[in-house]
């Protein structure tokens, strides 16, 4: 699953730490999600999309291999 968290963060001028605090996870978790190493739960994905004020599918999308 790919995501546009890095792009959305840049738009909102948020650091990984800022986003982590807003969704109540560690910065390492945000970093792992951004790098595609960890797939977040539906609840966390929805929280992240809500922080950016966009729909879930604008942040997360499936890849060919999924």
């Amino acid at each position: 699953m790919k995501n546009t968290i890095k792009v959305e963060r840049a738009k909102k001028d948020l650091t990984q730490q800022d986003l982590a605090e807003k969704v109540q996870v560690s910065r390492q978790t945000i970093n792992s999600i951004e790098a595609g190493k960890y797939v977040p739960s539906t609840v966390l994905a929805l929280k992240i999309a809500r922080v950016f004020g966009v729909g879930l599918e604008e942040v997360f999308s499936l890849e060919e291999s999924d």
Partner: protein, 140 residues
């Protein structure tokens, strides 16, 4: 979503890690004390004391909360328990095979509850730390 409370595993506060480390060093002192008090002590008993104390130490570490216990850490913990059990089964299988090839039987005195608990908790701890290391490595 609410979880079924019967399946909930309450984790210990991070301060318990200090007690876990005590369990790693305590058998060393205990064995030295016992060896001085009773020089004819069975060497297998010493091994059992080490395995028992280390099993408790690793057990406490495995059930102690991280500073930030978020969903990724929870998924690492679940994976660690699964992987640890998997490694233990195959490890014991390998030991039984070696024992069979050398001594022509699968059972041996070394398979004690203390040893199995030590290996299981040690493998779980290893699998958990490995996942955290991989995340930290990619992070840096």
């Amino acid at each position: 979503m609410k979880k079924n409370s019967i399946l909930n595993v309450p984790l210990l506060s991070p301060g318990w890690k200090k007690l876990a480390y005590v369990f790693f060093f305590l058998p060393v002192i205990l064995i030295i004390g016992l060896a001085l008090a009773s020089p004819s002590m069975d060497p297998n008993s010493a091994g059992e004391i080490f395995y028992g104390f280390w099993a408790i130490g690793f057990g406490i570490l495995n059930l102690t909360r991280e500073k930030v216990e978020d969903e990724m850490i929870r998924s690492f913990r679940q994976q660690a328990f699964q992987t640890g059990f998997f490694w233990m089964i195959w490890g014991l299988g390998a030991l039984m095979l070696v024992n069979y090839l050398i001594y022509d039987r699968v059972t041996t005195e070394i398979f004690t509850a203390y040893l199995v608990l030590f290996l299981l908790n040690g493998y779980i701890y290893g699998a958990f730390q490995y996942q955290k290391f991989m995340v930290g490595k990619e992070d840096s």
